[in-house]
Symmetry: C2
Subunit: 184 residues, 2 copies
DNA sequence: TTGACTAGGCTAACTGTGTTAGCCACATCG
DNA sequence: CGATGTGGCTAACACAGTTAGCCTAGTCAA
């Protein structure tokens, strides 16, 4: 998600049907029980096979996670692009933030996987990150405001997912305060 | 780091001398080679003992990590408090952000450990988080602006640590853009 | 001085993790 | 018919955290 210059939506990586089933099962585990539950043995069991058989379809666990990250970035990127595109230019920033918040909190485990820790860019479609972050550049004007806005949005989401805000927090109002700050 | 009402600096947790040596060695591993290098066997080896002996001083690996997190939050909290206290109220926001950025990037592995993922609050001194985040409330005025500002700062730092910005990014200017947005 | 207790080490071993080597059954197709 | 590719299997390895049980040296009270 690095807002740079104009980038087209990159092509999805090719997957065999069986691999697609494996990735789908992995995503189900991730969504249901979190990344620490996503073990090769658990995944294999859900598929009705044994763990070593997974390596007929995936080279690594890292490659499997990269597939999940790819899907997450495509889904989120689509949501952000459509949020920024829809009506007119006015209000694009608010719509972008709403879309960012809702699409990330809808699948918190996917979001955390896709946006935390080091990213194996060599396992992802080239340009995917840049394309997904594109809407921020559109909504914020300059590159710097775009990155600052993204930092704010990511901070909000990841801190909420990781349960870092006090229980009594009114995060709606915090989002509004941030949006107001960046609205000029 | 949850800015709420006024909180005093909590007391450090008590540690036996030997435990303090263990924690210090763990911090050295963390700083040098990252959290994934911090294994019980590696830590024991650095101390010249065997892994099971560590359990004479620490109940869990989680408790060990909690000790590292505690130290990180105290260090960072002190830096933030002193940044906000120093001269006058004017410019407190800019000084706070500078202190946040520099003190976190000074020890990126500590910062990531302390601020990412679920926090075992039951293993930390009560009130530590709130005290450490206190300066944000002072600098931002309202609770909501405080949380939004913290989200921005955390997003900036963690995305830089995790290498999520494009290589050509001028993060100085991005920080300035964010600071300007929150300055009103 | 002796005995109890504590601190702090040790080895052996268990479970769960990712992963590899090597084998085997079946389908497809020249 | 036979070759080849697909997709399973078992056995096994290295390394993770962790536990049980044992041993040694020091401290300290009776």
């Amino acid at each position: 998600m690095l807002p740079t210059e104009q980038t087209a939506r990159p092509p999805r990586s090719g997957r065999t049907p069986r691999l697609q089933q494996v990735v789908a099962a992995a995503q189900a585990v991730l969504d249901a029980d979190g990344i620490e539950a996503l073990t090769m043995r658990r995944l294999a069991e859900d598929l009705g096979i044994k763990a070593p058989s997974l390596y007929k379809h995936v080279s690594d666990k890292a490659a499997l996670e990269a597939a999940l990250i790819e899907d997450a970035l495509f889904t989120m990127g689509d949501a952000l692009h459509s949020a920024v595109r829809t009506p007119g230019r006015a209000g694009a920033l608010a719509r972008l933030l709403r879309a960012y918040r809702s699409s990330s909190l809808e699948h918190p485990n996917r979001y955390r996987l896709a946006t935390s820790g080091q990213l194996r860019r060599d396992l992802l479609p080239e340009g995917l990150e840049g394309w997904a972050g594109q809407p921020f550049l559109f909504a914020a004007g300059t590159r710097f405001r775009s990155q600052a806005l993204w930092s704010f949005a990511h901070g909000m989401v990841i801190l909420e997912i990781d349960d870092r805000y006090p229980a009594e927090s009114d995060l709606d109002r915090t989002w509004k305060a941030g949006a107001a700050a960046f609205a000029h």
